[in-house]
């Protein structure tokens, strides 16, 4: 597969690993922001191959994991309504609310459908004019252009039976929150390559400067990840708090301006709750007033949402890189993918699920 196989080349990976070992003189703690990168690192066992002195901690970049319980509860209530066809990326179907998930709503008679693109949800709205079609618009900056276009296009075509539950979050405010936390151990970041494909990396330059950390936009294939780790180590060893791009085939400094414009037309920056972490100011996107008629939460006027997280779940610490998943007392005991206590055990991107799927009993390997 062009642009994938080259970056899974074992020889190239081995050479990069050797170079990382040669360059590393002391212990460094590096956070990969994106859950997709966590998944790839663990799935390919890159973490087992790195020198012990490089510690990777897993970041909060999993929209499924950080979508607040309240949004999920609202989604469950709306999806249960008779007149609603509820559409979602496959990722969200198993995420537990306080007492159930979207699969259970479907089993109780809710019309819950999986879509690959938000435009597919819009098509369902065109095809079912007598139904209300609701799309669960979750995501980081990568998914924002797709979600924004669905709303923009609905407005352009005057499709009125379409609305969205927005749970859009953004990386830079989360990075600042992690770096400002008193328990922070992160010394350098692999920035999420596909977020940067949309947003570019200009906005990371002040973060690097303010907190004196190197930030390296990085891809998702093993060779990309190793190249990103190598660059981060080099910057750390040289004491340089800079932003250096290691995903040049996809990321430019300015990002995708057309996509940014559409995001700006439909969404505005808002404060946002992150599941397991709490409120991060200016970390979310909400619909602009002009598009508020596409806000499903307003359309269906869902109030009185009671939520309750499991007291055992430590996903907040995991998401902020303060705790490794297998250090949680509930890991693989009370909390498994079959019976997840928190969202990090559900999503294939969630650090807990990645550890459970690929690493459980790693000592016995």
């Amino acid at each position: 597969m062009k642009y994938i196989d080259e970056y899974r080349d074992p020889q190239l990976a081995r050479n990069l690993l050797d170079e990382i070992r040669r360059k590393t003189t002391r212990h460094w703690t590096i956070m990969e922001i994106c859950g997709g990168q966590t998944h790839s690192l663990i799935r390919n066992g890159i973490d087992q191959l790195l020198p012990d002195s490089i510690e990777l901690v897993h970041g909060p970049g999993c929209p499924v994991c950080v979508t607040p319980l309240e949004s999920i509860e609202r989604a469950l209530v709306i999806a249960s309504r008779k007149e609603v066809i509820f559409t979602s990326f496959g990722d969200m179907l198993r995420v537990p609310g306080s007492s159930k998930d979207l699969f259970m709503v479907r089993s109780e008679g809710g019309d819950v459908r999986i879509v690959f693109s938000p435009l597919d949800a819009l098509q369902i709205a065109r095809d079912n004019p007598l139904k209300e079609v609701v799309f669960f618009a979750v995501g980081f900056e990568t998914t924002a252009p797709a979600n924004a276009m669905a709303v923009y296009q609905a407005a352009r075509e005057g499709i009125e039976n379409f609305s969205v539950i927005v749970s859009q979050v953004m990386v830079p405010p989360a990075m600042r929150a992690i770096l400002s936390s008193p328990g922070n151990r992160v010394q350098g970041f692999l920035a999420a390559g596909h977020v940067c494909a949309v947003m570019g990396y200009e906005e990371y330059e002040p973060v690097a400067l303010d907190f004196h950390v190197p930030i390296v936009p990085t891809g998702f294939e093993p060779v990309d990840l190793l190249a990103g780790i190598l660059k981060t180590v080099e910057l750390l060893e040289e004491g340089r708090a800079e932003v250096v791009n290691r995903y040049g085939r996809v990321v430019s400094r300015e990002g995708n301006r057309v996509a940014q414009e559409t995001i700006g037309m439909v969404f505005e920056v808002i404060d946002r709750q992150w599941r397991g972490i709490g409120l991060i100011p200016g970390s979310g996107l909400g619909l602009k007033p002009d598009f508020s008629c596409y806000d499903a939460e307003k359309k269906f006027n869902v109030t009185h949402i009671c939520t309750g997280e499991s007291p055992l779940c430590m996903s907040g610490s995991v998401l902020q890189g303060m705790m490794k998943p297998d250090a949680c007392p509930a890991f693989a005991k009370e909390c498994t993918p079959e019976h997840p206590l928190g969202a990090t055990m559900v999503s294939s991107e969630g650090a807990c699920a990645a550890y459970y799927n690929y690493h459980r009993n790693a000592y016995s390997l």
Binding site: M1, I4, R8, P10, A13, R14, G35, G36, I42, R43, N44, G45, I46, Q48, L49, C62, P63, V64, F89, G90, D91, L93, R94, R113, I114, V115, F116, S117, D120, Q123, I124, G139, T143, P222, P337, E338, S347, S348, E349, Y356, N357, Y358, H359, R360, N361, A362, S364, L365
Partner: protein, 347 residues
């Protein structure tokens, strides 16, 4: 002017399945005579008795049942009828049995197209002929609109287990080679990419096939095969886990050795799905002593649907009950059972 009152006679020609088709009356007979019998006729079925009376050859009998509810009913590379015959033929074959007789039970949704039903019945007859089995008894029920999805088919089957073979998922021994008969994930991805709402225009073809001739040839050549399974739901990953758990051994597989078709791989990458977790309907996983493995491969590769057969790993003493993959980078990871339905994901 005189008006001759004439009662309108009921419509007897239908294009779709009616509740009356399952009511045992005249429409039921019409359905039998027009749709089922022209294709499925044989000495047993033609008697139209409530049961088939079989003379089974001497030996141990294998008996299996499976129900097919695939959606969409027609998919690239096959349809539910073909699947229902081949699936049961394969379930008998992997136990070392020669499949002989099948039953077929149909649950039809009111409103389902009769011409589509006929196409399905026709391909069942064709699949049975190819596999050398007979459908000797059957049943049809009709349920109201929305109470099933177009058509569900149950097939049960009996076969005679050949002498001198001892196939069981408890038989794996350390040192055994694990063989996969071809590419992983074809059927499941053919189904997923042909579903609506996933934007695919793809023509991934299901691997749906009867494996009994190939399995018979393998057992002729190497009777001492330890275990065989067809990796259907849950994919190769689920089958390997079942084998490891039942035999209380570890299995180690090699990432680089797993064959996956290019388009299947492309769709898996795009949807974030592991081909090892995706269903197959014409593949075989087999465990055999290392010294016999090459002979088995040679026989398998002489059949079209298993020409890509390959050794994907071996049975080990370590980590009993667990399947571990050695990645192309030299690291290892656990291959777990998939949780449930494979969902396309964006993250």
């Amino acid at each position: 002017m005189t008006i001759a009152p004439v009662c309108p006679s009921p419509i007897m020609q239908h294009e779709t399945v009616q509740m009356a088709h399952g009511a045992g009356g005249r429409l039921s007979q019409t359905l039998m005579q027009q749709v089922f019998m022209p294709h499925l006729n044989n000495a047993f079925l033609d008697l139209l008795d409530d049961q088939a009376k079989l003379d089974l050859p001497a030996g141990r009998t294998a008996f299996t049942t499976d129900t097919y509810v695939v959606s969409p009913v027609f998919f690239p590379g096959g349809n539910i009828g073909e699947l229902a015959v081949n699936g049961t033929v394969n379930d008998l074959s992997v136990g070392g049995a020669k499949p002989m007789y099948l039953s077929a039970g149909f649950v039809l949704e009111e409103g389902f197209s009769l011409s589509e039903l006929e196409t399905i019945v026709k391909s069942m007859a064709e699949a049975a002929r190819k596999a050398g089995v007979m459908i000797v008894t059957g049943d049809t029920k009709v349920v109201g609109k929305g109470q099933c999805d177009k058509i569900f088919i149950n097939t049960s089957g009996v076969g005679i287990i050949r002498e001198g073979v001892d196939l069981s998922c408890r038989n794996l021994r350390p040192g055994d080679s694990i063989i996969l008969s071809g590419t992983a994930g074809d059927h499941g991805m053919a189904i997923m990419t042909s579903r609506e709402g996933l934007s695919f225009q793809s023509q991934i073809t299901s691997d749906c096939a009867a494996l009994n001739s190939m399995i018979a040839a393998v057992l002729d050549a190497v009777p001492a095969i330890h275990a065989m399974r067809d990796p259907t739901r849950g994919g190769v990953a689920a089958t390997l886990n079942e084998l490891a758990v039942s035999s209380r051994v570890g299995i180690e597989i090699n990432e680089a050795s797993i064959p996956v078709k290019p388009d299947v791989r492309g769709a898996c990458e795009l949807l974030g799905i592991d081909p090892l977790h995706v269903a197959n309907e014409g593949k075989l996983v087999l465990a055999v002593a290392e010294e016999d493995a090459e002979r088995v491969l040679e026989v398998m590769r002489s059949f079209d649907h298993s020409r890509d057969a390959v050794i994907i790993g071996s049975v080990v003493n370590d980590h009993p009950g667990m399947v571990v993959m050695r990645t192309v980078f030299g690291s290892r990871r656990i291959i777990d059972l998939p949780l449930g339905e494979q969902l396309p994901r964006i993250c």
